[in-house]
């Protein structure tokens, strides 16, 4: 069986389909989508067994997640009011904890990413997230759950879909070994210092850039967490560490073999005054978050959560070259398609 790494096959990358039929009738597309369907079933089974309530996600709202680097939101004319398509349902995830202690969505998101991300192999303008939120949970609880969930889904697919993985040329031993042990952990400051030492010009005050993320991912043979991102690199809802001002209690989960980021999560900020202040720090106008801040004034539960990019996760499990290959109707930034 051949080992598939994104770098090794880069030159042979299938061109982005000009029409849906060539893509949909490709046996590799069918195998990928079957694996994805199985991953969703495994996700639902795992989360439900752990007491999580599945909710249907909202699609539009007066505001959406602003904490997105460089991407545009899509406006919807809602009876004369400007609404947004969800870039992520984070605000609703927090609110949902008023009803249930543990919730999840399989949520569609639309982010008009900058056109230069069309070639990262990791960005889609329309994608789905496995969105999980837990009341009164700490960041470490969310990380543990994300690790268990990813391990469960990978193990399930390896056991139940050998034929599809064979069609795709995905080495099941590599996958099995990747989730055999606990996931690695590295702080943002350390990851940044390592990148700089390796000659990559990473800004220590910023999110790890796409190229840097690919470098650290390619060096790894099992998934790992990057924790403690600096304030200024994430949205207002990631809680600041009270004992380490300027450091957020958040994390990214990075896949090995160069596949890059799979998930982002954090302990959530829920205190009204802190939320307003953090909104200003992130350049947001608190007035447009009316419903959310009103709710925060009355009390949003403390909690933690994360969102796993479903197509990215699928790409990792199936070993595809680009994330668009894990979508039946892919939308690449700046590319007009079906």
């Amino acid at each position: 069986m051949t080992v598939t790494t994104p770098e090794a096959v880069d030159e042979a990358l299938t061109p982005f389909p000009s029409s849906p039929d060539t893509h949909l009738t490709d046996p590799r597309t069918r195998a990928t989508l079957r694996v994805q369907s199985r991953m969703l079933a495994a996700t639902r089974a795992f989360l439900t067994a752990h007491g999580f309530q599945e909710l249907l996600p909202p699609l539009i709202g007066p505001v959406t997640d602003p904490g997105i680097r460089g991407s545009k939101q899509v406006d919807v004319d809602f009876y004369g009011h400007k609404y947004k398509l969800m870039t992520s349902a984070i605000l609703y995830k927090q609110a949902s904890l008023l009803a249930f202690d543990k919730i999840f969505y399989i949520a569609p998101n639309v982010r008009l990413e900058p056109v230069e991300t069309a070639v990262t192999h990791r960005h889609l303008a329309e994608f789905h997230q496995i969105d999980v939120e837990m009341r009164d949970a700490r960041r470490e609880d969310a990380m543990r759950l994300a690790e268990q969930l990813v391990t469960h889904v990978v193990t399930d697919v390896v056991a139940s879909m050998p034929a599809e993985l064979d069609v795709l040329g995905r080495d099941t031993d590599t996958l099995r070994q990747a989730v055999a042990d606990t996931f690695g952990r590295v702080g943002h400051a350390r990851a940044t210092a390592d990148l700089i030492a390796a000659g990559h010009p990473q800004d220590p005050a910023a999110e790890i850039d796409w190229q840097g993320e690919e470098i650290v991912s390619a060096d790894a043979d099992r998934p790992f967490f990057i924790t403690d991102y600096p304030k200024g690199s994430r949205g207002f809802y990631d809680k600041e560490d009270p004992r380490r001002p300027g450091v957020l209690r958040n994390f990214d989960l990075i896949a090995p073999e160069g596949y890059g980021e799979l998930a982002s999560g954090s302990e959530r900020e829920h205190d009204y005054a802190t939320l307003v202040t953090r909104m200003r720090e992130t350049g947001e106008n608190p007035a447009k978050y009316g419903w959310y801040l009103d709710l925060a004034r009355r009390g949003i539960p403390a909690g933690s959560g994360f969102g796993i990019g479903l197509e990215r996760f699928t790409r990792y499990v199936t070993g595809r070259q680009a994330v668009w290959q894990a979508s039946a109707y892919p939308k690449l930034p700046g590319v007009v398609s079906a």
Binding site: G70, Q73, P114, D203, A206, R280, T282, G283, P333
Partner: protein, 427 residues
């Protein structure tokens, strides 16, 4: 002379004259040469003697070691024309220590005047700042999506007229603009690509402005337009309930040290391909604010003196509120960072004083508008030619041959002033 654009308290006639005559307007009328008795009499335009920047004199020395260096370098006696004016402004290479300051949704700056200013700035190879509130008020695209509104029109006009090396566009976003996500829109719009690809797009975080320190933008709108933007802006019936016009008030936005630091860092995180500029109003803590912005990674900090402003402001503010530019420069001190200064800039002497006090470049606001109003094709170019000639003459007069070498020693400062020596901006 064209329109009804007027600028009270500003040397409008002198600016218009330069926009017509260019470098010739630096001198007394040519017709007087050889018969008038020319000395240190009053200039035709009487500057405000309470303004420290006007009272400061530029004081050439007798001995000029820097001139000797230039003589050795050239192998001939240097002239004023040997002074180099090209400099780096907030990450952009500019042919002159000059940029065109922001004017936003204000009526005088909308529509074709704004585009004409942009085209001329681009041809000059100097940066252009595009003001806040252009999108929420004027819209981002026309309704059919095909047309060009002021913001995109101004970016496109600049990019088309510029060469690939000089100048650049800095785009402001106010609190209300953040609702319209102006930076996000522009960052991924194809119109911006030529500037992004050449590192010539900046985003300017507007903390405040000179004419109205501590207040947000104020403009006068007709009732129809006010109705359209009612969800984004507060309006005030200051002109009475029967008037067909209302006052539109933007919020100034709340800043603390931490908020400014984090907003700058977020800009760097979210928009890695742009330069980050920060515009400050002339607040009493302007030195701390500038140091905070630089430490967070701002490529340029603009200080807008209380004498600045194209926009509409309460008359009381114009006379009584905010630090004059000279005071701002004194408080910030000379730092090894890019400081930009605006406030009643239009000619070389005031600019050279600001540069010697630590500014890297000066911003033309009202002067640029008046010059382009005078001549859409070449008014700003001629004003800049006059500026360049004066700046070269003044710089060479103090024995220096690069504009960046100007220093407080070149100035006769008021007795009470004590300029701090150049230090790093993080102080």
């Amino acid at each position: 002379m064209s329109t009804a654009l007027v600028a009270n308290g500003f040397p409008e006639e002198e600016v218009r004259s330069r926009a017509r005559l260019g470098a010739a307007a630096v001198f007394p009328a040519e017709s007087g040469y050889g018969n008038g008795l020319l000395g240190a009499g009053p200039a035709p335009y009487a500057p405000d003697r309470d303004d420290d920047l006007e009272r400061i004199r530029i004081v050439p020395p007798v001995f000029m070691p820097e001139r000797l260096k230039k003589l050795i370098d050239l192998g001939r006696e240097p002239l004023y024309s040997d002074v180099e004016l090209e400099t780096v402004i907030g990450g952009f290479t500019s042919r002159l220590p000059l940029y065109v300051s922001a004017f936003g949704s204000t009526q005088v700056a909308s529509h074709h005047l704004g585009e004409a200013v942009g085209r001329q700035a681009a041809r000059l190879g100097v940066p252009l700042v595009i003001g806040e509130n252009v999108v929420p008020v004027n819209g981002y695209r026309d309704a059919d999506g095909a047309g060009v509104t002021p913001l995109l029109g101004r970016i496109a006009a600049y990019a088309e007229a510029a060469d690939d090396e000089h100048g650049g566009v800095a785009l402001q976003q106010s609190t209300e603009d953040a609702d319209a996500e102006v930076w996000n829109l522009v960052y991924s719009d194809p119109v911006s690509e030529p500037l992004l690809a050449t590192g010539r797009l900046a985003f300017e975080l507007k903390v405040g402005q000179g004419a109205k320190p501590g207040l947000g933008g104020l403009t006068v709108l007709d009732r129809d337009t006010a109705g359209r933007v009612a969800e984004q802006y507060a309006t005030d019936e200051v002109f009475g309930a029967d008037s067909d016009r209302v006052l539109r008030a933007s919020s100034p936005g709340t800043f603390t040290e931490e908020i400014l630091r984090q907003q700058v860092r977020l800009m760097r995180n979210n928009f890695p391909r742009v330069k980050v500029w920060v515009k400050l109003h002339p607040g009493r803590d302007v030195a701390l604010a500038a140091a905070t912005a630089w430490a967070a990674g701002a490529d340029a900090v603009t200080v807008d003196g209380a004498e600045g402003g194209t926009a509409w402001a309460p008359t009381g503010f114009l006379s009584h509120v905010g630090l004059p530019l000279a005071d701002c420069l004194r408080r910030v001190g000379r730092k090894d960072r890019c400081l930009l200064a605006s406030g009643r800039m239009w000619e070389g002497t005031r600019a050279v004083k600001a540069l010697a006090l630590g500014a890297r470049a000066v911003g033309l606001g009202r002067a640029a508008l008046l010059a382009v109003d005078e001549d859409r094709e070449a008014g700003l170019r001629r004003l800049a030619e006059a500026f360049a000639l004066e700046t070269r003459m003044l710089t060479s007069a103090v024995g220096k041959y690069h504009v960046n070498a100007l220093d407080p020693e070149d100035l006769l400062l008021p007795a009470a002033w004590r300029m701090s020596p150049a230090t790093s901006g993080a102080a």
